[in-house]
Amino acid sequence: MTKPRQFWKGTFAKYNYQFVLLLFLAVWFVVMGIVNHSFLSMNNIATVVTRLSEIAIIAMGMTIVVIAGGFDLSVGTIMAMVPCIVGLAYGQGVPFAVCLAFGFLAAMAVGLLNGVLIAKAGFQPIIGTLATMTALRSLIYVITKGKPISSFPENYMQLAHGKLLGIPIPILLMLAFAVFFSWIMSHTKFGRFVYATGGNIKAADIAGIHTAGLTIKVYVLSAILSALAGILYSSRLISASPDAGANTSFDCVTAVLLGGTSIAGGKGNIQGTVLGIIILNFIINGFNLIGINAYWQMIFKGCVLLAAIGYDSRRKPGFKMVKQKTA
């Protein structure tokens, strides 16, 4: 017979961290399903998954940035900016495709700026993106004069509210992106180089990887995904709010870390992040359904994060996360 302690050390520790997350999710579903009957209804699950798809798409970009050893605070602001630009331009009578192009180009420009500040000028990622975030929010206020924008084409809302084969389009998009970027990260050179750069930027440099260029690309990619989420978001609300996305970056980082991606870079994956987002959103959903207020939810979310990451780091003896990237 194995002693409990040995079981913990031996058998259980071998399980993948993400398996434990899944287990948690399963337990949560069972408990919540018993406590509240509507929790497990298809309708509820579809609603929750639909609304988490936007932030999941942003978090995928964030995951890649964090794996590359960076950090992006500006995602929420980009998410707010793009639909404002698109809506404003469309209100001026610009063809919608051109408006979209404007929006995405603007997002890419911000991503480029982030990347250049961090990879070329040597800014700390947290500070470089903090500066662009601050400036960008102000830019949004200037162009929108603080008013929500709702000049969008008639069919615009179908993007977020429509269904294909009975599945809401945002969910399909999220799944497509999740599969696509998991594949990118595991099967392409780009993904491999991102892991190498985040794992050891000096070694990656010497292996001939253009790490500065790669870092810039990663931030541009994060900006593009944030822009896309912004489009989905505004399509869901049929309106672009200049205040949107104020908490997005922290929500994303929480999910990314919960999903097992290392803040030091070089380790993590898209699946984990999606799992993290799903867990966080179903926690909120479950608490909402039994009427527990947002502040208790905050406390619980914080505890889940600490417990999960604490478990992950203690699972591997000697594993430390003291290393930080300075990119």
Partner: protein, 327 residues
């Protein structure tokens, strides 16, 4: 044959420019001078005693908080929970006021409680073996949740003058100066201070050199918490009201001040003087915005721009210094 020593020795002679450029705080001083002169030319109200008193009051809270943040960043961490701890301390002060606690009870109690919450952060960092950014991201949620749940969101007005006085007149700047000098001495002249730098510079080396790394980390977070206690008293004195929702986003202001002042996320680098100057620059920017009659919509853009410029200047300083060191 003699060992010919260091590269450092060779370059220790040089012109005034070289001497100046080696002072890490030089860029921030330069920037403060430029910004001051610029505002002074545009606005007569700038170079007046009243205005300086105003600025001194306005920078005190962020100044005190950023010294704590500096400690944590030097040790290669970051404390995202400071705004939430401030809120929680405000909530507790609310109770103290309602119980008619005299200030000589309340002030030490708040300091002790702040230190306690900081220590809790420290213990979690040490015990969970998780990067401080993750731990404090968790406690940021937990503390804010508790603050709101504990206080029920209630504000307390009509505070006794003994509470208000800490935020009036020259008191805030005096407190800031006392705290700054205290910590400048601690950082330079105590083992604890040097060990903070050692841990940030190379944690493993510090441990092998016999430094009690875990204990030092706990003290670092305790100090950060203690300083939040000081900041809370100034904050309450300035606002004249107790607001359990206070302090949102203060962690970013404190990080901004510290980084502008030359503290590096790579660890081991930074001074109290630089950090306080960073807070001064941020205060000047805010003061200048109003004095120069800049529309609120544009203020964020200018703030972002100044942060980028100040850090770029520091990048150039480092590059120049590097060149001189080689030549």
């Amino acid at each position: 044959m003699k060992n010919s020593g260091t590269k450092n020795v060779r370059k220790e002679t040089g012109g005034l420019l070289d001497t100046l450029i080696r002072i890490p705080e030089i860029t921030i001083v330069l920037f403060i001078v430029i910004v001051s002169v610029f505002i002074g030319i545009q606005s007569e109200s700038f170079f007046t005693t009243d205005n300086f008193v105003n600025i001194s009051k306005q920078i005190a809270v962020n100044g005190i908080l950023s010294i704590g943040m500096m400690l944590v960043i030097i040790a290669k961490g970051v404390d995202l929970s400071i705004g939430s701890v401030l809120a929680l301390l405000c909530a507790v002060t609310g109770t103290l006021v309602e119980q008619n606690a005299p200030i000589w009870v309340a002030f030490p109690a708040i300091l002790a409680l702040g230190a306690f919450f900081g220590l809790l952060n420290g213990i979690l960092v040490v015990k969970l073996k998780v990067a401080p950014i993750i731990v404090t991201l968790g406690t940021m949620n937990i503390y804010r949740g508790i603050a709101q749940v504990y206080s029920g969101g209630k504000w307390t007005s009509n505070l006794p003058d003994t509470y208000i006085m800490w935020g009036q007149g020259l008191m805030p700047i005096c407190l800031l100066i006392i705290v700054a000098i205290l910590f400048a001495v601690i950082m330079k002249y105590t083992s604890f201070g040097r060990h903070v730098y050692a841990i940030g510079s190379n944690e493993e080396s510090a441990r092998l050199a016999g430094i009690r790394v875990d204990r030092t980390k706990k003290i670092i977070f305790t100090c950060s918490g203690l300083l939040i206690g000081f900041a809370t008293m100034v904050f309450i004195g300035r606002t004249g009201v107790i607001q359990p929702s206070a302090g949102t986003g203060y962690e970013m202001d404190a990080i901004g001040a510290a980084v502008l002042g030359g503290v590096s996320f790579a660890g081991g680098k930074g001074t109290v003087l630089g950090t306080v100057l960073g807070a001064v620059l941020m205060g000047l920017i805010m003061n200048g915005m109003t004095l120069l009659k800049i529309s609120a919509n544009y203020q964020g853009m200018i703030t972002g721009l100044i942060i980028v410029l100040a850090l770029l200047l520091d990048t150039f300083r480092n590059v120049y210094q590097g060149r001189r060191a080689r030549a």
